[in-house]
Amino acid sequence: MSDLLSSTLAKLGQGGLAILVVFAVILIVFFAAGRATGRLSKPLGIVVFLGPAAVLMIVGLVIPAIRTFFYSFYGPVGTKYVGTDNYSWAFTNPGMRTVLINTVLWIILAPLVSTAFGLVLALLADRMGATSEKVTKSLIFMPMAISFVGASVIWKFVYQYVQPGQPQIGLLEQVALWLGWSNPPNWLLSAPLNTFLLIVIMIWVQTGFAMVVLSAAIKAIPGDVLEAAALDGASGFKMFTRVTIPMIRGTLVVVLTTIMIAVLKIFDIVRTMTGGNFKTSVLANEMYSQTFVQGDNGHGSALAVILFIGVVPLIIYNVRQLRKEHAVR
């Protein structure tokens, strides 16, 4: 127990000291640079304010990203040039084909279903009393705060398989048995079902995000627009398809692309649930496995580049959206 205490104190001290040092350095630099006057003052300010962030991003993001791009044309340890071998491996290897198909399934299903659920919940919760709306939203949004690893443990328990004759502990199998499915499969071992079960976890996490963002957009629709539509005889479903949806189209697309980006990078769920076995692997998990388990950095880098190329259209779209918004302002 005293061991625990002393190691705890040592670690907390380390963290506290680091915080102190970093902030002391910032303050000292501020003080010193603040003394400069005249023509030098502004450029100095720009360097002090932007310098640390710029260095971090160039050294930690830009240069490493470029190096990964180069590694993707080299062999496992990065010494032998292999041309586009890693890429042809990625697209022709049978195991990789499963990975790519799974990734496509994830990208299509998870964003669409969570956005759809989020939209329905946002619309319906809008009609509830203030308190019940708040409680509902908190509960549905809660999974956003939980780590993907925690979420995976929660759902692994739901998917726990026990021989049908035995006492059941997993909810999914128990429900299947109650519904009269006498011999359900071992959920996480049977492809392609298992991939869908993993996607359910992502939907469970992301629906709350979609709901909260869409709900804010719906509440922001001006009252007179809705009134005008109501006067023209729009109601219920028609109001929804002709007025609400067009008014929040921009937000809908942003929610979809944001979840898509998150899905493309999904790693933790697959890692924790199956380790990528039983034909459940996806791009980001395979990238990790190739690099750190198989020790093939060439393959891993190629997969990272493919991942990046998948994200690029989304980047361009998002930048355009932002530009448009700046122009409006």
């Binding site: 640390p52 971090l56 240069i63 509960l139 939980i146 929660i154 759902w155 059941q168 009134e227 006067l231």
Partner: protein, 320 residues
């Protein structure tokens, strides 16, 4: 705004009967809607609830009956938590307590460092005009969606071996892999684009006259930043702080890559939990409380500061 006008207009256009019908249809559909929402909410909560119940059941019950049977045979204990926190349990040496500390030591600096550095950069981009600042801002924005995976391995090598041209070292080997410092630096790097983007969006909307007044009064950029921009930006800083804290606390990929799963003196809770999934197997009486130890702090932060968290998310997604 215009709801005031509504009562005057509506009765003229719609006869009493229609109005009544509308009300009836609306009340019916809103009751149906509420029912549907309640059902979905229950469906969404059941998995977490089931695991919570399991974490509180005696070991003997957990393996032999479903958690839903507590409704007919209630029986609870805190023993599982005692075991996973302080001793370890089935095949596992040592409890989770040191990992809770690790997670805190990783997450708090991992939140404060990027906040400080990003706030400075965001201020310069928003209020210190210079040539190319717009271009710089959009570049940073675009960097936001560069996947972590693309930078991971070269960054790890940079920490381990530095940069050499021939045999001339250009950047020193930091040798921080496996330490807290590697996680702080990495989380700070990967937080930069989003943090700068969010804080910039907020700071750019601060009133121009306040800034100009400060300049007229002779305040330089440093003073303006500390005395005016920082205090006024607190809402967005709080929003991003919560967002980043949860991100760092919940991260698996970065800690797995830079520290690994075996280093008990540094590994955060999430890494440990993912390891325990393998160790405990189907010993759910141990895995369930472990999971709750790992998610309880994010949940507290989330429920206590939900408003700020939502604001951060909205700023990040509706605007971009």
């Amino acid at each position: 705004m215009s709801t005031v006008e509504a009562p005057e207009v509506v009765p003229v256009k719609t006869p009493i009967r229609g109005d009544k019908a509308t009300r009836i249809r609306k009340s019916f559909s809103s009751r149906l809607a509420s029912l549907l929402v309640v059902l979905l909410t229950i469906l969404w909560t059941i998995p977490t609830f089931g695991l919570l119940v399991t974490s509180l059941r005696p070991q003997a019950d957990v393996g032999t009956s479903g958690w839903w049977e507590v409704f007919t045979h209630p029986s609870f204990t805190l023993e599982n938590y005692q075991t996973v926190l302080f001793s370890g349990g089935y095949n596992v040496q040592g409890g989770l307590m040191p990992f809770v500390v690790n997670s805190l030591v990783v997450s708090i600096p991992g939140t404060l460092f990027p906040l400080a550095i990003a706030a400075m950069a965001a201020y310069a981009l928003a209020w210190v005009p210079f040539r190319g600042s717009n271009f710089l801002f959009f570049t940073i924005f675009a960097l936001q969606v560069v996947p972590l995976q693309l930078a991971l391995v070269p960054l790890l090598r940079l920490f381990n071996t530095g940069v050499h041209i021939g045999s001339v070292p250009v950047f020193p080997a930091l040798g921080i892999t496996g330490n807290f410092a590697s996680l702080w630096v990495t989380h700070t790097i990967f937080a930069m684009p989003l943090a700068i983007f969010l804080l910039h969006n907020f700071m750019a909307q601060l009133p121009r006259d306040v800034m100009e007044a400060a300049t007229v009064d002779g305040a330089n950029v440093f003073l303006t930043f500390r005395r005016i921009v920082l205090p006024l930006s607190m809402p967005s800083i709080a929003a991003f702080a919560i967002f980043q804290f949860l991100w760092v606390w919940n991260d698996l990929l970065i800690s797995l890559t830079f520290v690994g799963a075996g280093k008990d003196s540094v590994s955060p809770l999430t890494t440990r939990l993912s390891q325990l999934v393998g160790n405990f197997g189907s010993h759910w009486e141990l895995l369930a409380p472990s999971a709750f130890v790992a998610i309880v702090i994010p949940l507290i932060v989330f429920f206590a500061l939900q408003r700020y968290f939502v604001r951060g998310l909205l700023a990040g997604s509706v605007k971009g």
